[in-house]
């Protein structure tokens, strides 16, 4: 018997979590905490990502899950609580559950929207090994008074992809970054720069994917 925990109060817990995600998207790089709900048994995601799925997915959304992340009771719990549809085609996905490694070449071709309808794009929901304030990545753009820094552990392929957003604006991918109970967002408009000193550090494989 799989355990499929979810929000204890779907209406208000969902609203509270949405406001966290909205605040994260409005001020890219700020950290927000979602301690609940408990995640489905053996799932490879944390409470922050589970809460995001529960508060944004429903019958109208299609979710693409990277191979390896569908482990445990995740897909069963998702169908049970949200009724969202799973898709095997990344270009059809409203949301995509990924790790930074998923974006390594050859990366799945997610929807980027068009110049006339840039909102018809895939939003990445990212499972990270680390997410903290730091200097590894410097962010600038709307919602950031000067610059803001984040440490994301080993996130090279993801950040290369997100940094490329700027050149295609307004088309692009928005990302909701999560690690356990922590959550931040990186919309397509954010300008991303790697801190050179940290890139050298990343080249030595001290953290495992």
């Amino acid at each position: 018997m799989m355990r499929w925990p979810a929000f204890s109060d779907p209406v208000h817990d969902g609203q509270r979590h949405f406001r966290r995600v909205l605040a994260a998207m409005a001020e890219p790089g700020t950290l927000h905490v979602a301690a609940a709900p408990a995640v489905p048994e053996d799932a490879a995601i944390g409470p922050a990502l589970w809460a995001t799925l529960l508060s944004l997915c429903d019958l109208d959304t299609r979710l693409w899950i990277a191979p390896g992340l569908e482990a445990g009771g995740l897909t069963g719990a998702l169908s049970f609580h949200t009724g969202c549809r799973l898709t095997a085609a990344p270009e059809d996905a409203d949301f995509a559950l990924v790790t930074p490694g998923t974006l390594a070449e050859p990366a799945p071709l997610f929807a980027e929207g068009s110049d006339a309808y840039p909102d018809r794009s895939t939003t990445l929901l990212v499972v990270l090994e680390a997410l903290a304030e730091g200097d590894a990545w410097r962010l600038a753009g709307h919602g950031i008074p000067d610059t803001r820094g984040l440490d994301l552990g080993e996130a090279g392929p993801l950040m290369t992809r997100l940094a490329a957003n700027r050149a295609r604006f307004p088309r692009g991918l928005d990302a909701i970054l999560t690690c356990g109970e922590r959550l931040a967002a990186m919309p397509r408009s954010t300008r991303i720069e790697a801190n050179v000193a940290d890139i050298r550090q990343e080249e030595c494989p001290c953290t495992s994917q």
């Binding site: 609203q15 840039p118 909102d119």
Partner: protein, 277 residues
Amino acid sequence: MNGYNFAYLDEQTKRMIRRGLLKAVAIPGYQVPFGGREMPMPYGWGTGGMQLTASILGEDDVLKVIDQGADDTTNAVSIRAFFERVAGVETTTDTAAADVIQTRHRIPETPLSAGQVLVFQVPIPEPLRFIEPSEEETRVMHALEEYGVMHVKLYEDIARHGHIATTYAYPVKVDGRYVTDPSPIPKFDNPKLHMSDALMLFGAGREKRLYAIPPHTRVESLDFEDHPFEIQAWDAPCAMCGARDSFLDEVITDDAGGRMFVCSDTDYCQKCREEVA
């Protein structure tokens, strides 16, 4: 709130609007289409703003509603009563005490702070609509960043009146990309959009569009080097509180030409009078 879901809208509608809001914030100034719902009031009374408010409002939020700056006019009183009834939230007239402020055609004089959300009621979200009636065409114009006509419109003002005569719904460029209608706020309020600490959301119910200006975002009012953007100014202070830094409404006091100018922001005017007293 018997018989209604919290904040009137059903959860699936809220989620649809919430997903739209995330896109709107990610692409500042871009108009996101959404499946507008019928609200228990006619279009033109703020159905777009109400749907946004209903989708973001939480049980712990304190709500303020203003109409042309005033807390005590019909539209503001009705919408405030509506959310008291269907969401049971606390309401206030104090700008600083509010978490969510729904507004029709003004930005409060009291500077907004981080964490506050301002929800605008928008009649016509498309700034290019009066120049180009086709939605298909304006979509392409936004896609190609083809905004020359907007300057032609402002130039025609100068040719006819000697100055830019647009006084409200004055077009802005958000984050250097999208030309956006700030809703019919007086141009006096345009500078408050620039690098605001608060999140600003815009909802148009009839047109079924929503858009956003996130905090700390560049917002420029369109102008010319030789005709720079200017805001309204008055010769006299507010006749009730003496403020010189607020937007004033002209009030006719008799049928013999008597008139006075008073703050349009009733909360601000009240606070100023309390300070003097």
